[in-house]
Symmetry: C2
Subunit: 333 residues, 2 copies
DNA sequence: GGCGCCTCTGCAATCGATTACAACGCGATT
DNA sequence: AATCGCGTTGTAATCGATTGCAGAGGCGCC
């Protein structure tokens, strides 16, 4: 009662061998009906649960997937986590989670200790040597890094940024600010490229401020924007948080949104449509992204390990969309 | 190169036994200097990493803690996850995470398969039989259930609600609405008690609407509030999300906050101070809560399993505080 | 009645680590 | 010179499951 029952206890109680118990549990059809019932009864009676460590060791797999993200407390990630976990759980897998900025050694171990047999990676800034060193099914989600030898999933950030710019162009804006993310972040870069490219096509004068996706960065950008002599009439922020920070600071400074400045965000986090004004933004289907990534990695876990791919697979793009809300309006010259 | 090196490979390369390798890795001081160096070299050369399953099996512990929460995508939890993970990682532990609403069987297994050796539980609505059946160090965080035989950590919700009410009382409000959470939720109940109790003491007429902590619930409550003939001049919502929904809907209906109605939230989520108007709320020190819970459960993991406690330990309370911002103002009669 | 086949079950090896115990080498002590 | 003791190392058992192989038994068919 005190100690956890092991398979031996169940076997003894049911009057069979441990092999039979194991089979009754994993492949019931391979065991006689009467025996199976005896075993199940014994399992119930003892409250037996398989010891994961023993099984993992023997089977050389852990039935677990690992999620790595650069910042666990980020609102954008949480819904992805939930979707991955849900999908994993449905497949009978457990989920490990870790910040991806825990240091090279720890990180290496995580993907290498046999505890996980698949990885969903949300960080494109890790050492490719480390990432490629894990010999595990892995999928890059949202962020990516061309040096990683793994398939990737996410929206087309360049095109998505284009949607935002064209929306502003259509409203008559001719000078637009882009508040970007960290210079070494692949998402920030790609969105900025999309911004610049589309701005050029649309005859929009681009202005770019650096940022880091946070509300603080947005607020800072707003203060800097306010000081400009010839202020852009619209701002496209690289994240919703940044956009909310921007708007909030603008309002505190006495400007009106979208009266004085239209603002577009990126992500469509949960608060976007309850903010005041509600935020025009680019929706990333986070739930679907998480679900697809999980499905994908689970599928890879099932298949025999693919050997080094000859050429990188093209990214799998899920659809992003512009969500028009109240934070954008016509340019008032 | 292809297959993962095992301890045997390292031993062979270093010309020692596996026992020595194991010792060199876990208790270096028990191994001769020369040998230790040879081993370390071999470890580096082979890229050896301990196989977690094998070690877990032998040591009967997994160096891992499990976080269970009723909703992984909730903004309130994410920062707690981050803090727990950080603390765990610093202690050399990995983190498993799961939604706690995955069904009795799966849930039972999670705490019983030897994969985790400590649990941080954020859900007070699970079957006590299941929870008490896990024979693992466990701490209840935020939510709780008196039927769980485990220590608990969190703020004093009753008192915290009192802070909100007294704040409104001090501003001259005499009729206050409380938008509560689910009727079966211990946090909702306790906060509601705090609300009612303090309202009575402060000569405030209480009105209570049911809710469920979400923005939608807040918005719904706002619509219902608007229809009241003698409208409360203030609302105390059981969560920040609810409060934001409430405010947002009020503004959409043409009311001003705090002009027509003051609003207090609960939690102090990240967006609270950037919302427009910024949200007066009760701060829960989520980071500290996560950190403390982790510390606590890690400590329990170290100590020999305490046998069934004679009487329930009193809850450990961390300090909640009122954060005054712009969503509350004097009652305008 | 004998043979073969099929179904069900058990024996025992195995997964890859940790660790109790014993053995060994070697200098110090008597 | 024998003994003691200490620090180091190896041998082998062990953790708790899974599974290849072989044996037992039952059944049908000739």
């Amino acid at each position: 009662m005190r100690a956890r029952p092991k398979i031996k206890d169940v076997a003894t109680l049911a009057g069979v061998s441990t092999a039979t118990v194991s089979r009754a549990l994993s492949t019931p059809e391979s065991v006689g009906l009467a025996t199976r019932e005896k075993v199940m009864e014994a399992v119930k009676a003892t409250g037996y649960r398989i010891n994961a460590a023993a099984r993992d060791l023997r089977m050389r797999r852990a039935r677990s997937i690992l999620i790595l993200a650069p910042n666990l407390s980020n609102t954008f990630f949480s819904r992805i986590f939930a979707a991955v976990q849900e999908e994993a759980s449905a497949a009978g897998l457990t989920v490990q989670i870790s910040d991806s900025r825990i240091g090279r050694e720890r990180l290496l171990s995580l993907g290498y200790d046999g505890r996980a047999d698949g990885i969903v990676l949300l960080d494109g800034s890790l050492d490719p040597e480390v990432v490629n060193g894990w010999q595990l099914p892995l999928i890059q989600l949202s962020e990516w890094n061309d040096a990683y030898d793994a398939p990737r999933l996410g929206i087309d950030n360049r095109a998505a940024a284009g949607l935002a710019v064209r929306h502003l162009a259509a409203l008559g804006h001719r000078k637009v600010l882009h508040v970007s993310g960290p210079g070494d972040n692949v998402l920030a870069l790609t969105r900025q490229q999309g911004f610049s490219g589309t701005a050029a096509e649309s005859g929009i004068a681009p202005v770019v401020f650096p940022g880091d996706f946070t509300m603080e960065a947005g607020a800072g950008a707003a203060r800097r924007w306010a000081k400009l002599s010839d202020r852009p009439t619209a701002a496209f922020c690289a994240s919703d948080e940044c956009a909310l920070g921007f708007i909030s600071e603008c309002v505190h400074m006495g400007f009106s949104v979208p009266g004085d400045v239209s603002v577009v965000g990126f992500d469509d986090i949960d608060f976007a449509d309850r903010f005041l004004p509600s935020l025009t933004t680019i929706r990333q289907p986070r739930e679907a992204m998480g679900r697809l990534a999980a499905e994908r990695v689970i599928a890879m876990m099932g298949a025999p390990a693919k050997e080094p791919r000859s050429r990188p697979a093209p990214p799998i793009h899920v659809a992003a969309a512009l969500v028009e809300r109240a934070s954008t309006g016509p340019a008032h010259t």
